[in-house]
Symmetry: C2
Subunit: 281 residues, 2 copies
């Protein structure tokens, strides 16, 4: 057992998806695609008899993190830092679960492989109802395409071989649980059609156009999101809605060109990783 370990997990915005529930949470998940982001979550795990989770110093209840620690038989203090807003479609719960899995395995020397840790975190996020595909995407990095739902060994991934500067604006939260507990048929049909269009041409502009059409067909656009996407388009840019948040993301400087105050980051080149040198103690 070591004193602590830290993992970084990229943020993840999904542009479109279809939901694939299953009795076995390792087989459940989503098809879809999105971008992993250099803005992400840094998760530090320390052994502690009193388990507790905090994000930016604020205590937080994250069932997916509890699920990961339970699965590893670990009792720990989990401290996370992130600039990403919560509940707005950046995969923060998945990042907390995956970062906890990687760091806790290092601290407690639980001897799991990377795929096993990704699977643990995926199952915990699915069981908690907070995510269906963020974890596997965040483990891969880049611009992941989720071809088949589920944890490693069950699901299947590809990716768009491209990188870009990315901007985003979060107007507000949407409840993943509320959308996922509603009627998923129209949404999933739109998601499958978007996936087919992206697979025919796996490029960033196609990802964004397929995502815009998905948000419209799945009836998920809010007035603020719709206006921002249109304004970016009129300024010659590419924007889409993040699933599931009242959030717009754009390639390059699409949002600032359209007059929005946006945060800027980039497609993250790597999946979730342990930090190499853990400064301090």
């Amino acid at each position: 057992m070591t004193e602590k370990a830290t993992a970084f997990v990229p943020g993840h915005v999904t542009g479109f998806f279809s939901a694939h529930p299953a009795d076995d949470p390792a087989a459940a998940g989503s098809r879809g695609a999105g971008l992993t982001l250099t803005d992400g979550v840094r998760v530090t795990v320390r052994p502690d008899a009193d388990a507790a989770v905090s994000l930016n110093g604020e205590s937080l209840d994250v069932p997916a993190v509890d699920g990961v620690l339970d699965a590893l038989g670990a009792s720990a203090r989990v401290e996370a830092e992130s600039d990403l807003p919560l509940g707005t479609g950046f995969g923060v719960s998945g990042a907390l679960a995956l970062g906890t899995a990687l760091a806790a395995n290092a601290v407690f020397e639980t001897g799991r492989s990377e795929n096993e840790l990704i699977a643990l975190a995926h199952v915990a996020d699915v069981d908690a109802g907070t995510g269906l595909g963020d974890v596997v995407a965040q483990a891969r990095g880049g611009v992941p395409i989720r071809l088949e739902p589920g944890a490693p060994g069950r699901g299947e991934l590809d990716a768009v071989p491209a990188r870009s500067r990315v901007e985003y604006v979060a107007f507000g939260t949407l409840s993943t649980e509320a959308v996922l507990s509603g009627d998923l048929d129209a949404l999933s049909a739109a998601g499958e059609s978007a996936l087919a269009r992206l697979r025919a041409e796996p490029t960033l502009p196609r990802l964004l156009s397929a995502s815009r059409r998905f948000a419209r067909e799945a009836d998920l656009l809010t007035p603020r999101v719709e206006e921002a996407i249109e304004t970016v388009g009129e300024a010659g840019g590419e924007a889409a809605m993040a699933m599931l948040g009242e959030t717009v993301f754009a390639l390059g400087s699409g949002l600032t060109d359209a007059g929005y105050e946006a945060r800027a980051c980039a497609v993250h080149p790597a999946g979730a990783t342990l930090e190499l040198d853990d400064p301090g103690g």
Copy 2:
């Protein structure tokens, strides 16, 4: 078509492997494990009617690169830079093939997915007889375990969830083609046994000990390599032989602690990626 694109591909040292030839090069490959390295190969592709490949300014014949360009129907100048020594077990030919695939797809807008580009490069490296598993490992990054041989969709990967500083010394070259064209039965039996030991405990120390045993059982050690591995071990470090080169790699400062003049790098957190901002033009 754009003016140029650049990709970075990490170096890759294999610690142990079993060879799995097949009539279909996409299904051929190796099981095994190793480390991807922050020392790698930067590959720039420019459209050019006269196809040519250079490494650090020296013209070079790389059949795997020719195979990739053929598969993409692209005629290009490929310029690579690397600090890694050639022919000493760092997967330079695989890196050249994979970097060319990623950059050429971006330049010529050939519309392939990431898995398709990895498969192209894998097939080209296998067909050229220069590699059996470097490309898929270099596409994943980290500490890849090759569970099943072959390109994406055929092969299967896992990884050791750990990172480390890495040192290496290259004493000389070994011919991959010569070893792979020899009797592979004893080698592959040793490789399968090493894989089973690593899967039972997917940690860096276990990877290094399984690799040492493999090199001994497969009778690949040279006197200089054997001495270096022993000297590092006596100094309390962990070292093994890179497949296939007269090369020793060690965790942390294992080689310098043992008195060797070694190059230092680290486990690379990411797989091969396009560069985000292409400076100059």
